[in-house]
């Protein structure tokens, strides 16, 4: 009874603290939203590449043959990812000057005897020079050239083979060379048309899980988690060792204060979660049934409790405030990363995936996704409740043991 009374006392005290420092509350509320907004903004500007300038690539053609023209065409056509490149033929000093002036992202050199080496099967190296001040674009050029040279390599093996057999036939050299050029052109054209091999289709699940819905839900989940750590940390204060000792004399344990802090943070964040969820639903225009709200509510309650237990366990374990905050931040990042909100879990390595069913965040997020995005009418609370219970037991054990060995 005394135990609960004390917890209630501390909850009331925490509530007072929140009211006293109400000026910081809007900041706490907005901080995660600003962070998520910033990330979304960076992502959107990064991926909307339409109005970006084309990548400037220089080309030094020391071979000057018809074949190099074809290869040039192949490079232009192979530029993937929707971004396009602008190739300009230059002399070597010109290219070097433009690279220095940041007018080029890199340049490619076709060496002398490029074509004849290709036909005879001699090894050829295509030098690419990147611009150190534009590393991303330089590596894009390199990737592009690697793709192109892989195509040429495959074609080249065939041409060298044709050349080998043609030599055994009564053909004169001019005729053979003409035929080889014909074949080279054919193979390049053939490579350009490679997309004909596949019939491409995009499958969408318009109703619920478009990327916008997917990432809005993830964003909400991240905001919720940052609120949890922010309010929990806000309620932590620098009570001196002396005051702590005096409180211990009155029989106040650390566990009581931790639980009170958890409870206060929980009550605040659950309220915020409810309000923000309604906003989320309006925003995404989700259709949910009455039971769904109950299910989502239960999952969020269990998730928040387990998360706060993690915070409290770390606080009971680590005495240095700095280190404790660092560990709590690391905990938060790990939880968010493993939840599957940021990176879908099926991209994780197998051993991580098999571990995920034991991680409360992954479980919670999985069921949230199932209910909200995949319209399922079921959620399995058992693993999640077990984890919440286990977390509570660990917290109690940790803080009791710590209390006993406190100086």
């Amino acid at each position: 009874m005394v135990f609960i009374k004390r917890i209630l006392l501390f909850i009331r005290q925490n509530g007072k603290k929140l009211r006293r420092k109400w000026l910081t509350l809007p900041f706490l509320l907005l901080f995660p939203i600003i962070i998520i907004g910033l990330i979304a903004f960076i992502a959107i500007t990064f991926f909307s590449q339409e109005d970006r300038d084309p990548i400037q690539v220089g080309l030094i053609d020391q071979d000057q043959s018809e074949e190099t023209q074809l290869v040039l065409h192949l490079i232009e056509e192979s530029a993937q990812l929707g971004s396009y490149i602008d190739i300009q033929v230059l002399s070597e000093p010109e290219a070097k000057k433009k690279l220095k002036a940041d007018q080029l992202s890199g340049y490619i050199t076709f060496p002398e005897e490029f074509t004849s080496d290709l036909y005879t099967g001699h090894s050829v190296t295509l030098p690419i020079t990147g611009n150190p001040s534009k590393p991303g674009e330089s590596y894009m050029i390199k990737e592009l050239l690697d793709t192109v040279s892989r195509h040429i390599r495959a074609a080249q093996a065939n041409i060298v083979t044709i050349n080998y057999y043609a030599k055994q036939l009564p053909m004169d050299t001019d005729e053979r060379n003409n035929m080889l050029f014909q074949q080279f052109t054919d193979f390049i054209m053939y490579t350009l048309g490679k997309d004909k091999t596949a019939k491409e289709e995009t499958v969408t699940n318009q109703a619920t899980s478009s990327p916008i819905e997917y990432y809005t839900l993830a964003g909400w989940f991240v905001i919720l988690t940052i609120w949890l750590i922010a309010f929990y940390s806000f309620l932590t204060d620098d009570t001196s060792h002396r005051l702590n000792k005096r409180m211990r004399l009155y029989g106040v344990t650390e566990l009581q204060r931790l639980l009170a802090k958890m409870a206060t943070a929980f009550l605040v964040v659950i309220t915020l979660a409810g309000v923000s969820f309604i906003a989320l639903q309006q925003l995404l225009d989700l259709t949910l049934y009455q039971e769904d709200y109950l299910r989502i509510g239960i999952i969020i309650v269990l998730y928040s409790l387990t998360f706060l237990e993690g915070m409290a366990i770390l606080e009971a374990l680590i005495r240095s405030r700095k280190l404790c905050l660092l560990m709590q931040s690391v905990f938060t990042f790990t939880v968010l990363l493993l939840s599957g909100g940021i990176i879908p879990i099926f991209y994780f390595p197998g051993y991580v995936q098999s571990l995920l069913s034991y991680i409360f965040a992954a479980q919670s997020y999985k069921w949230l996704q199932e209910i909200i995005l995949n319209e399922r009418f079921y959620a399995d609370y058992l693993p999640l409740s077990l984890m919440t219970g286990a977390g509570m037991l660990i917290l109690i054990a940790m803080s009791l043991v710590k209390e006993r060995y406190k100086p």
Partner: protein, 375 residues
Amino acid sequence: MRYILQTRLMHWKKHWLALLFWLLFPLAATTAILFITNTVKEDSSIPVGIVMEDQSDEAVNLLESIKSTEFIQVSELDKRDALQQLKKHQLDSVFVIRNNYGSGIRQNNRNQLIGAYQSDLSFAYTPVKEMLLSYIQQETGRMKAVHTIQDLAKHYDKEDHFTEEDITAKADKVQSSQDLLNTAFTFGKNKVEKDDEPELISIWGLWIIFTLLSTLLLFDWIVHEKRASVKSRFAFTRYSFKHYLILNSILYTILGFMVDMGTISLFWILFHEKISIWSWIVFRMLLNTAVFLFANWFKHFFVYYTSAFAVTLVLAVGSGAILPISGITDKWPWTKIVNPLHPILNDGYWNVTSWFIVILAILWYYRKENFHAAR
């Protein structure tokens, strides 16, 4: 200065473990994150659904070659299941090997041999498709060469002279025995080795963010000592409190430089990554000045700690150290001159924020001392 050093050494002696931890934290955390991301990157695989409508030898060969690709994890499904799973975002992409695949390859007809399905959340569809197409391309290319050679032979009345098996064997041999066409990538003055792929995360970006955090947390002595009851006694010593703070932060800055030097040489040895020395020196000086001013602003150390983490998070997200912000800097170039981490991330020295920090520091130094012995 000697007394300052002596008293600080006494303090460090008592807290050497914490000091060492926070000094080495940027190095350790950067290395750990690089190690983890590299391991996960190597071990992670793309889940791809394959639907086999054709069971010919050619189709089975294709399946085998997809299965042997390292980064792809194949599940064989029927079409309905595969598309259902793709819709629920449980597969990255689905490829259907159509029932005309084998005959198409043999007859040198390559149109629509496979069906390729992606969802609107497929991150790896393009590289997987390219891989598949280049394999098919190689197969059909071989067939094309065989047809060409046999046609030639027919033209010179030497039919049956060259068999299909001979020709494909020869072509395979040519392709595997000779290093036919390579690319050599140079980047500035250094040649980039084949295996030196760019890291997923910039190593210096990570290190800068962790250095920022650790410097902020190391400078908490300012918040602690400003609160100390001994503060009023400074009026009776040779040093004013202001000079005490400045001299001590110089000590911390020297310590920072020493640890940085170790880190930079270690990164060079371990990862062959280097940084412009002058921008590092300027960065370190400005960082410590900024942190010094920032810490002077706080009265409660827990508020200081949480603010330190908040500032670090904002800069980690928004400065371009970890997330690519080229989309923003291309559109709004002025963001480059107000981003405090832009100079160090781009081998520069300073921008507007640097001058802002310097001006603030001068203002701080020449403002009126607001305590006296009488108080």
